[in-house]
Amino acid sequence: MRGSEPRLLRHLTGAAAASGLALAGLVMTSAPASAAACSGTSGVTVVVDTGGSVNTRCAAGDPASGLRALTAAGFSVTYPQQYPGSVVCRINGFPASDPCVRMPPADAYWAFFHATRGGGWTYSSSGVSSYDPRPGTVVGFRFGAGQQPRVAPPEPTATSAPAVTTTKPQPTSAPRTTTSAPEVTSAPPSISSGAAATAQAPGVTASVPPSHTATPSRSASASASPSGPATPTATSSATPSTSATPLAAAPTAEPDDGPPGMGTLVAGAALLALVGGGAGWTAWKRRA
């Protein structure tokens, strides 16, 4: 039931757009998807859809590539071991199930889209590191078998909006009580706790109709809608200010005993010197 919901949702998107809030109120929870889109024609809006939650942020300035827009917007990127710098394997640590050694499989990878504001998604024909998004456009990442992000590219805005991670609760969990987001911050759009929220995402069934049908007023976009006792929003609000910089929020690929420092390097060099010296000494002894 839960697994079929996104596909069902995609079929329903058109109907939802037609019937608007009526259907959204019955079946789905409305979503402020364009919460953190860039304002005006500056910056590149980045939409990341894990299949469970949608995260929209803004990369300021003119990033040189889709990848740089992704990192500039505060997402942490893990590359496959064999394709560093050219293929996205994990965004904010999702999916944790992929070992990130080889190319991700064709039915579980981050598909890369680009779009104009308010336009339609285009599956990018060039790589994430070679596509250069123009300022004022949108790049989208959707995890899955190459489907589109489930939110439409945010429409152009004139005003700045604060950053909100729009993670949705399950419709069945509790009656909807819309509260204001606990982490509403003023500009510049911050990247607070996006990693924590997205890491929780697989267990969350989200339903995100296009924002321009669900939330007609832009002022509503600053509020998330947490409900129920254990929603991801609660997690995200628990760590609001620990992630001051984008990279600090990134789950680093390092062993549990902390970042290896000079001791590790010295130990490695000593080991290499020992074995390499042994090889050299043996060769020299045989020649003599």
Partner: protein, 379 residues
């Protein structure tokens, strides 16, 4: 018979064992981009080569493979700077970038070079260089002629042909040197192009004479004799071998392509390999052939192969369980980790340098003719 027992008497370790060990080390190196582990694998391979290589011409080839590896790293880095996709945060070099048309997307000519991208390129090159050094180690340690003698009976004619052809180049070089020395002794010191006619004819004559001698020697040893094989048996052998090869090809395709049905993958490949083995066995049954002083396969051989397999198994397991330990952390850039299990696995790969019998030396071979009990080792 393991370790100290067999290492007391110098003898050549079975070439197939060296190849098994080297492939294991290459598989281990292929799983990692951690520079410490890659360099450790290189040092281990170099140590074993230094300790256990023979005195044959190909035993000195290991240095060439090291130079080849260095060239690979340099070319990889230069290509990254010229046309590679640059990524990273730490700027190393600012170069102008050529704007290419959209159909050339994926190629970045010039552009700012970052430390992370440069390191990734160098480490990818280093990984390939270490794998090539492993193969070079197998070439330096294993006698190719002895390896061909271990071929299954059905392939012995191919083996003889390959042995004859790989012997041509060294023999030709030796022949040229012999003729040049003979001419110098007679006072003829012509060099360069003018010496070619006076050298070429004796070398050609020498080659022909050797070929005739080789042919006579092979004929007297029974090469080229065929036993009568019933027609039905020949057909069955051919069908089994061909079917096995076809199934192997389909199986490899199935293993590599994730979209094919599961039955086309590993099961087909295993069935194909089994059929091929059966075909070889059937074909070899009718080849009357014995091997003169076959290379023994004893404890030292098991140990050598086991060390290579252990190194490969350790690193493959670690790469499945905790792949981040084997990766150079590039984003963000950090000191590479030094995980215990892969280090131990690679160090086990160095054990053949000490636990296998020492290789034969020329002095030892001469001593064998007279007194077998007293082996004189030069040095």
């Amino acid at each position: 018979m393991t370790g100290p027992m067999t290492s007391s008497l110098p003898r050549a370790v079975h070439p197939a064992a060296w190849w098994g060990w080297a492939i294991g080390m290459a598989v281990a190196a292929s799983t990692t981009t951690n520079p410490v582990l890659l360099l450790l694998a290189l040092c281990v391979v170099a140590l074993v080569v230094a300790a256990r290589r023979g005195t044959s011409p190909w035993a000195r080839a290991f240095r060439l493979y090291l130079w080849l590896g260095l060239a690979i790293v340099v070319v990889r880095v230069v290509l990254h700077v010229l046309v590679g996709l640059k990524f990273g945060e730490i700027v190393v070099l600012r170069l102008p970038e050529v704007t290419l048309p959209s159909w050339a997307a994926g190629i970045q000519v010039g552009g700012t070079v970052y430390l992370e991208g440069l390191l990734a390129a160098a480490l990818a090159g280093l990984r390939l260089a270490v794998m090539i050094a492993c193969i070079g180690a197998a070439n330096a340690l294993a006698n190719p002629k002895r390896l061909l003698r271990a071929l299954p009976g059905a392939l012995h004619e191919i083996g003889s042909a390959v042995v004859v052809s790989v012997s041509v180049a060294p023999q030709l070089a030796e022949s040229v040197q012999r003729v040049l020395r003979a001419r110098q002794l007679r006072g003829d010191t012509t060099r360069g192009l003018r010496a070619v006619p006076t050298v070429a004819l004796p070398v050609l004559e020498d080659t022909l004479e050797r070929s005739l001698l080789l042919a006579a020697a092979m004929d007297s040893r029974g090469y080229g004799r065929t036993e009568h094989v019933p027609r039905g048996h020949r057909l069955v052998t051919g069908a089994v071998t061909l079917g096995g090869l076809l199934a192997s090809a389909v199986g490899i395709y199935g293993v590599l392509d994730a979209t094919t049905p599961a039955m086309m993958g590993t099961p087909t490949l295993l069935a194909g390999l089994a059929l091929s083995g059966l075909g070889l066995w059937l074909g070899g049954r009718h080849v009357p052939r014995t091997t003169y002083r076959p290379d023994p396969w004893r404890g030292a051989e098991w140990l050598t192969v086991g060390c290579g397999v252990f190194a490969a198994a350790t690193l493959v397991t670690v790469s499945r369980m905790t792949p981040e330990l084997l990766v150079m952390p590039l984003t963000p850039l950090a000191v590479p980790p030094l995980p215990l299990a892969p280090v131990v696995g690679l160090l086990v790969g160095a054990l053949p340098a000490y636990l296998t019998p020492a290789p034969l030396r020329p002095a030892a071979r001469v001593a064998h003719r007279g007194a077998r009990d007293r082996v004189v080792v030069r040095g």
